[in-house]
Amino acid sequence: MTDVAVIGFAQAPNERHSPATTNGVEMLVPIFHEVFAATGLTKNDIGFWCSGSSDYLAGRAFSFVSAVDAIGAFPPVMESHVEMDGAWALYEAWLKILTGEAEIALAYGFGKSSAGNLRRVLALQLDPYLVAPLWPDSVSIAALQARLGIETGLWTESDMALVAARSRANARDNPAALRQAGSSDVSVVSGDEASAESEGTVRCLWELLARPYVAEPLRAHDCAPVADGAAVVILAAGERARELCGRPAWITGFEHRIDSASLGARDLTTAPSAAAAGNAAGASRAQVAELHAPFTHQEIILRRALDLDDGVNVNPSGGALCGNPMFAAGLARIGSAATEIINGRADVALGHATSGPALQQNLVCVMEAR
């Protein structure tokens, strides 16, 4: 099988309310420039393009069609799109290199989550006949999952707050992060609830635990803030990767799986699809892991599912809890993990992406230095 590596990554700053349109172009053009400048590539070097985005997030049909304007796609390009997080676009790009049809491929994801009421929009991902008409929103479903874990003794609200505190501390060094320790907290799920998290700094766990619930047992710090953003990752094959990058992040395992859509039929305290993908990809070898956990308890679930021991550095970027631009955040996890290798801070790194309610679908990309 062809050796393929991540050789470039850029992401737009995560913003609570980006002035950009929902078609992503304004967020994508600067990061295309950034990643091309860093790699010395131009658009003409890209053999295959693939994007991830959502029409429902954009509130229109064919939102990705306008996004190709960011490429400057003339002469025409070999291009595809998934209605998924950009991490799955990266997977399709990886396939294209493995088939030999492209040597260098670029994947991007973008989402303007602030354009609607995200937790309500995501309710439309549920069974359209039996569940969605009840409008169970995404935060409430995550709260049910968190509650099940607490009641079965798998984690506590303190464990969850610890995840939040560590993520915020880590995000201090990530200029793209939306929420940074010591800064004002931002709204969690909608403008209406912004007042619940006004001025204030995170000094200790107790302070977090003293705050009100958003959807019991979830507090604002347990939920990823609504964020707009975009991310781009470039892959290259074999020799090309070595030419373009001093220390490429070679992909050694790239796997994804999906679980049942029936919330009542699955054990929400586990993520079998993450475990299966992690097992197939060799997740337990990772020294660093960027986990796409939009809720604190989901990081706990994922650590267990991926068999990551306490020595693994989880979410050095701050993770999705410090910026979760829909359809870009998973790709940004892989890009952030790859950067740990490219910059020489790790030898084996893992990037993870999730999609669907309560961690229904999971992707794992394991990368290593050579």
């Binding site: 799986r257 029936s262 999609s355």
Partner: protein, 385 residues
């Protein structure tokens, strides 16, 4: 490097305006079950599932593949969701093929669908986001000026579109799954139907359909182990260009021409006109048959209509186009591209029944989408090379 891939089985639903007898999952399952039965495989033998459909607003379900995971037997497996506008059905087939060509999987199920009766496609297309050109209530109004431009540039006689429509509707009558089956359709009847978007008449327009299509793909070992005829994928191709830009040629878009040129080259086809035995081309409005014949390189620019007029694109002609009845007979939008790919495979597998093109050994499947800007195509044949 690239592994061989083949179509092992094909299934589709009966396409209708409103399939109120099934849910979205039931519709997809109907096609998937038929494809698995056709391939003589069980769902347990499938390694991965690829789902394609056009905009989620067409049903009002966000990322419906999440909900479809159970019905499609994807739980515990990889599931990908493709969306490349109207070309999505073709792109779905190509992504599924690439999973095998990349050496990642051995057997893959591709499913594409649209259940237009769940929502309203015209509404979904008419939402005007800020800073974007309106589509002007549906595809007909968008494409009619391009067709007028084609007629002006080519000098084609006014009845060519009606000839295409009459042929495709008659072909649809030979296809038991087609939405519109009009065995007695004539050019005169089409010309007598109401004008919708000049020069596109009512009978020159695709229907709104509920429907799904499924294809089982396999690697060389799976193909050789099959006791059924298979269709070998000789080449695939995709190209994209922006919706509008200075110099955009909506009649003969460069993305389509580039995709076709790459396809012929990859398949080792020097003369498509002589070497393709059957073509399933995405023709949602009648005049796109001559337009795409030129864009694909079957005819010189301005000459495609002569093939239609001479009857060459009839099922008995030298280049049968849309023997299945095509998009003009069934248009479950997200599935329409995969139907073109599947029907091309059926031709080389010899499974097309009453609409079988005699002696078809090499066939083209084609789809396009957006503002004539997304193109996906493949070549299938009865032998691997």
């Amino acid at each position: 490097m690239k592994q061989r891939a083949a179509v092992l089985g094909i299934g589709q639903t009966h396409h209708r305006s409103k399939r109120h007898d099934v849910s979205i999952a039931g519709l997809c399952r109907e096609a998937a079950d038929r494809a698995l039965a056709d391939a003589n495989l069980s769902v347990g033998q499938i390694d991965a599932v690829v789902v394609g459909k056009a905009p989620d607003l067409f049903e009002g379900v966000m990322m419906p593949e999440l909900y479809l995971a159970d019905a499609l037997g994807a739980v515990g497996k990889p599931l990908l969701r493709v969306h490349t506008a109207g070309s999505v059905g073709g792109a779905t087939g190509i992504v599924a093929a690439s999973l095998i060509q990349a050496g990642v999987h051995r057997r893959v199920l591709a499913v594409a669908f649209e259940k237009q009766s769940e929502s309203n496609a015209m509404w979904a297309l008419s939402i005007t986001p800020p800073f974007a050109m309106p589509v002007l209530a549906g595809a007909g109004g968008y494409f009619a000026p391009h067709i007028r431009s084609y007629i002006r540039r080519s000098g084609a006689p006014g009845h060519i579109g009606a000839m295409v429509a009459a042929k495709d509707r008659r072909n649809g009558a030979r296809n038991p799954y087609a939405h519109l089956r009009q065995a007695d359709m004539t050019t005169e009847k089409v010309l007598a139907s109401a004008m919708l978007w000049d020069p596109v008449r009512y009978d020159e327009t695709c229907p709104s359909s509920d429907g799904a299509c499924a294809v089982v793909l396999g690697d060389q070992a799976a193909a050789e182990a099959s006791d059924q005829p298979v269709a070998w994928i000789r080449a695939t191709s995709m190209r994209t260009e922006p919706t509008m830009f200075s110099g955009k040629d909506n009649v003969n878009p460069r993305a389509g021409a580039d995709a076709a040129a790459a396809l012929w080259q990859a398949a080792g086809i020097a003369s498509p006109r002589d070497q393709i035995d059957a073509a399933e081309i995405y023709v949602p409005f009648s005049w796109f048959e001559p337009m795409w014949l030129e864009n694909l390189g079957f005819a010189e620019p301005g000459q495609g209509w002569r093939l239609t007029e001479a009857g060459e694109t009839e099922i008995t002609g030298s280049l049968p186009v849309n023997a299945s009845g095509g998009v003009l007979s069934s248009n479950p939008i997200g599935a329409s591209g995969l139907l073109r790919f599947a029907e091309s495979a059926m031709q080389v597998m010899g499974k097309a029944g009453e609409h079988q093109v005699a002696g078809a050994r090499t066939a083209l499947g084609h789809a396009y989408g957006g503002g004539s800007q997304y193109f996906s195509m493949w070549i299938v044949a009865d032998t691997p090379d």
